[in-house]
Subunit: 401 residues, 2 copies
Amino acid sequence: DDLVDHSDEELWATEPYRDPRLIVKTAKPFNAEIPPEYQIAHFDTPNELFYVRQHMPVPELDAGAHRVRVVLEDTGHSREFSLQQLRSLPAASVRAALMCAGNRRSEMHKVKPVKGIDWAGGAISNAVWSGVYLRDVLLTCGVDPDDTEGKHVILTGADIDATGQNFSTSIPLRLALDASARVLLATHMNGEPLPPDHGRPLRVIVPGAPAVRSVKWLECITISSEESSSHWHKKDYRAFNPSTTWESADFERAPPVYSLPVTSAICAPRHGDTVTAAGEGATPRTYTSQHALVLCTLTTCAGYAYSGGGARVVRVDVSADGGRSWTEARLQQDAAPHREHYAWTLWTVRLPVPAHATQAELWVKATDGNLNTQPETFEHIWNIRGILSNAYHRVTVRLQH
Amino acid sequence: DDLVDHSDEELWATEPYRDPRLIVKTAKPFNAEIPPEYQIAHFDTPNELFYVRQHMPVPELDAGAHRVRVVLEDTGHSREFSLQQLRSLPAASVRAALMCAGNRRSEMHKVKPVKGIDWAGGAISNAVWSGVYLRDVLLTCGVDPDDTEGKHVILTGADIDATGQNFSTSIPLRLALDASARVLLATHMNGEPLPPDHGRPLRVIVPGAPAVRSVKWLECITISSEESSSHWHKKDYRAFNPSTTWESADFERAPPVYSLPVTSAICAPRHGDTVTAAGEGATPRTYTSQHALVLCTLTTCAGYAYSGGGARVVRVDVSADGGRSWTEARLQQDAAPHREHYAWTLWTVRLPVPAHATQAELWVKATDGNLNTQPETFEHIWNIRGILSNAYHRVTVRLQH
Ligand SMILES: [Mo]
Ligand SMILES: [Mo]
C-alpha cells in the first residue's frame, strides 16, 4: 500500500546489507522476519537478526550532521538538537521488544483474507535501546507537563514515499511525558549505534506500542493539537470488529492503536516437525484430562510471549492435547516490574504428551499482569487489516516414541 | 471459607440495614449483588444499591475516635492519624468501579464446579470515592519513593474472624506510590460518608484491582518487606491454569492478583426474556453474516464493560446471532484517559436480529485500550477458585416480531 516508485532503481541502490538468515517477505521495501529458532536463541536479539519492517527505501543519514527539530505548534517555538546536544541530557535505556501490529497476521488470514504483509510469528524481536528520554527532551524545550489534554507528539522520519511525503505518525503527549512509559530517543541498539535498517542515527522507541510508532531516522518532533495527518497514521493501525468492512470502516472514529494485547507463539518445534517423545524414565501421570498421559521430553518446546502497555507476562500455559490439559512453562524475563515491563518473555516447557499418540496438537496461551489472556481463535477478533492477531498459537507435530 | 462463628448471634446483632432490592447470596457474612437493571440505571451506583462483599460481621466504628496507624517496619517508626488529621492532606477523589475477582463466577461454575460465592454479574458497581491519596500519606510518613523494590503495603481492617484475625491483604509499595494508580484512603462514597457496609469511616480504594485489596474499616497500614501473611492474601486471589487442582496449586509461587482483565455483561434483556423485535420502518440490511437480517430495536439492550489496571474500554461488540455478526455499542464513559481510567463503561446498542428467528443468542465482548479482549469461553480460563471469569457473556432471549 505504500506509495513507492518501484520503477526507479536508484531509490534502492543504497539499501544496507541484510543477514541472509532473515526471511524476506517483500524485497522493496524490505520486510523480513527473524526465523523462530533465532527468536529463542537469544534473549536480546542480535541486531543483524532483528526483524525488519520498512515502508520505503532506507535513508542514508550522517550521524555527525544529523539534527532533530522540536516544534511547539501553539507557541511557534522550535529548537534543533544534534546528537551530541542530545547527549547532554541524562542517559537512558530500556529493554523493549518491538512488534509489528500485524505480527501473526498469516494465521488470521486463514480465517478470511486480510490486507497486509503475511507475517508469521517473526515480526517481533527484543533489544536494549539507549539514548535519552523523549520526556526530558520535551521538558527541556518548555513543554508543559500539565497541559497534555488533546495534544499529540507528531514524529516524522527521513523516509519518503513517491509523492514526497515523509513517514509520520503520532502518539498522545500524555504518553510521551509519562515517565513510566519510558519513551526514548534512541541512538543505540544492544550497545551498538543503530544499524541503518533500524533508524540510524536516531529513532523513537515507544515501548509497549505497535512498532509503527517507533519512528526511525527521526527528523522532526511536533507538539500539536492534532494527530499526525499522514495516511500511515489516519488510514491504518486502527481496530475494527469482524463485521466492519473496508466500506463501513470509519477510520476517523476508531481510536489509533497505541498498545498491544497479550500474545505468545511456539518457536520450536515447528508445525509439521517430527518430534521424538522421550518417555524413558518418565512416570505415567494422570492429568485433569480424561486421558492418561506419559511425561515425555520434547527436545525443545519453546517460544516467546509478550504483552503491550507495560504489562508483564505472568504465566504461559502450553497444551499438547488440544487444550484438554495445560502445563505451565518456565519463563525467562527481564526484571522490570509489571506496568513498566516492556521486554518479551521467553519460555520453555517439558510437555506431557498422550502415551500412544502419533501426533500432538501444541497450543500456547499467555496471561499478563492484568490477568488478560488470549482469545482461543481468530474468528471473533478478525479485522480487515489483520492486526492484533493474538489468538492461541497452534502447531501440529508428529510424534516418534 | 471465612472462619466465622455462626453460633454467636451477638456478632450479627449490629449489622446495618440493607436495601431489599439487593440480591442476597449469603446472609452471614452478608454478600449481595446489585440487580442488573440497577447497574445500568445509574452511571454512579447509588450507595444503597452498591454490591456488598463481606468476609465477617460489619464492625461498628466511631468516625470521631477512629485512628489509622502507619507502621514502617524497617525503621520501627509509626504514626497515627485521625480522620481530621488526614484531611490536612490535599483532597483527592477518583471515579472507580469495584469488582469482586469472583464476579461472573456462576458462568465458570457451569463448566466445572469451582469454590466460592456463586456470583452472577452483579458483583460490580461504580462510585466516586473521595478522601486523600495513600501516596500522600506515605510520603508524609517518610516512606522513600525510590526504595520500593520488594516492599509491600499491608492493609488491615477492623473486621475479625473467629480466631481473632483481622482481615488483611497487601499491595506492592510501588503501586501505592504510583501517582497514576490513584490509590485512595476514602472517607466518602458518592459525596456521602461511607456507609457501614462499605467501610465506614475509612477504607482503601485500589482502583483497577480486585475489590478485596480495597480494605474496609482500615485500621493499620504497614510498610513491610513481606506481603500480608493472612490467609485471605496467601491462600486466595491467585490465578492458576485449568489443569491446576487444589492438590497441585502452589499458592506461594503464583503471583497475587493485583489487576483485573477486560470483561463485560449484558444487563438487559435477561436470559429467558421475551423481547419484542420492532421491525417496523426498519430497512432489511445484509451483514457480513450469511443471514439476511432485519434491523430491530430491542427495547433495551444494555450492559456494562470494565477493564482493570487503568485500561479504558475502547469498544464493545454485541452479537444477536451467536457471533456471526457484531454491532458496535454506544459507550457511556468517564473522561479519564487510558492508563488512568478506573470507572466502568455502560453501553447500549440497537441490535439487528435475524428476520424470522424466534430466539436470539446475544453475546457481548469488550476490547480495552491495550487491545485486549475477552476469551470466547470459560473452558481454558477455568480455575479452582473461579476468579477472573471474563469470557463472553451470552444470553438467550425469545423474540416476538
Ligand atoms: Mo507494523
Ligand atoms: Mo472478592
